[in-house]
Amino acid sequence: MEDQLGALTTIFTEVYYWITVVFMFLIHVGFCMYEVGASRRKNMMHTLMKNTMVIPLVTVTFFYFGWYIYFGWNNGIPGIIGADATPYGLTDINWAAPWSPLMGNTLSSEGDGYWSHINGVFWAAFLLFSWTAASIVSGAVIERIRSGAFWILAVVIGSFTWIIDASWGWHPDGWMVRELGYHDAYASGVIHAIAGGFALGVLVVLGPRIGKFAADGTPRNIVPHNPWLVTVGLFLIYTGFWGFYVACNIPILDIGAMAGMDGSFFATTNIYLTPTTTSAITFNFLMSISGGLMMGYIVSKGDAFWTYSSGLGGIIAASAGNDLYHPIQAMLIAAAAVPIFYHLHFWVERKFKIDDAVGAVAVHGYAGVIGVVAAGFMLWGYPSSMYAEGTWGQAIITPWGQAAGAFIMFFVLGFAPAWIVSKILNAMGMLRIPERVEVAGLDLSEFHGRYLDEAEVDAAEEQEARNRGLI
């Protein structure tokens, strides 16, 4: 880079995304703590390792093909939907294929070297969203899914289906943005609805934990072994969510020419390149979390788990339009969503015998759908992106476009692929832990030797103490 201002802009953007990635790492830490706390003692280590190994598996697969899909599939499924009408052809991506020099340490690239600096951190920001999508599913299925099956499912959502939806609906050239007017600035549907739908698809095939339902179908509450760990985990997820929000923005961009201005207009933009400010999303993040927490406390009668989860669900329900909402609008939307997803969780649990161990389908899936649809009404008539020219002219946000988008996120790319893959794994006998092992406890199965060592060392220590006359 030759000029100082250009270098400052580029390297500021690079460091900006790097910081968001570090913050978002806390989401995964929080999910691990939350899930381990929610599991029973006999399943703690299995639960921890199941979610921990999402990190390497989704990382390497997102490097191999996830990043390529984001830029390559904007028109739909290659060869099936749409023609090559975007600036990015399906084969003309020189920075996202795993063999591209820009997927490694490269000093300069075409133009001013911008992508040499941005590609890795931008990839990582998306990757952390990928972990989040897989991790949301992880909590719902604890204590009875085989790790190997879960890790295949984690790759399916983390490096394949979610990034397809991002390519379609979370990119200014995505066909959903251009044709449906889809707008989902902070990923109500793009991350949360798809992950909730995916979790539901797995749960339908996987079935409930042994003992979850009484003979007459009444659900029992399987109590978390460590409620404190659960709530600290949720606090950490809140913390990481800050990073998630700012990672959804582009920190500094000249959008003057795109707006048709003669001169420059430097702004922070959302992923659709429309202007917003970090202040605006800070207002809205805090007001929507507050709306969710306040309503969650009332609806759940002060239950800690559901109050915290409602704070999370509240943000998710406001996220689709949080680049544009007034803060009080964000708070009200968050609050209004809580009783809907809260009661829906228990209704689905009773009606369909769905054992969602952490309420992920409700807090992420239903809240995400609500968020996408709510934005359709609240932002009716707004352009969906900076230059959203579709078949019928400029694409605008509408309730029906958003409803169609929510359906694609929750069912088409969430529920359906999860159900299909789970059915295949189940038919191969690879999905569920054998029932005797489930009853005995998964940690006992995997860490049998450690338990025996614990008992043996305890007995040896006692004997040694007696020999020395200490006891």
């Binding site: 490269t106 054998p434 009853v439």
Partner: protein, 87 residues
């Protein structure tokens, strides 16, 4: 012999790839993808084997009952007692 960069005293605007063995990116991608698939195969085989052994072990109802006490034990001494009682 050099695997990549030979000097930094040059026009840096003309320096592109910095990593060694430029030109092997396609092979590296193939090796990476293959190792990922092989990892899954090894892991699933190992897990299936371990679970089949455990399932066979717990066909004995007494062992399964003892295991439940052991796996839900909150302290080392509870673990020791459960271990002494049959597992």
């Amino acid at each position: 012999m050099s695997t990549g960069i030979e000097t930094w005293n040059t026009n840096l605007l003309e320096v592109s790839e910095v990593y060694p063995f430029v030109g092997t990116e396609g092979i590296l991608a193939f090796v990476g993808i293959a190792s990922w698939i092989i990892w899954h195969i090894i892991q699933i085989r190992s897990e299936n084997k371990a679970l089949a052994e455990e399932e066979a072990f717990f066909q004995d109802k007494a062992k399964l009952a003892a295991a439940r006490k052991l796996s839900n034990a909150e302290t080392v001494s509870e673990t020791a007692r459960a271990h002494a009682s049959g597992l």
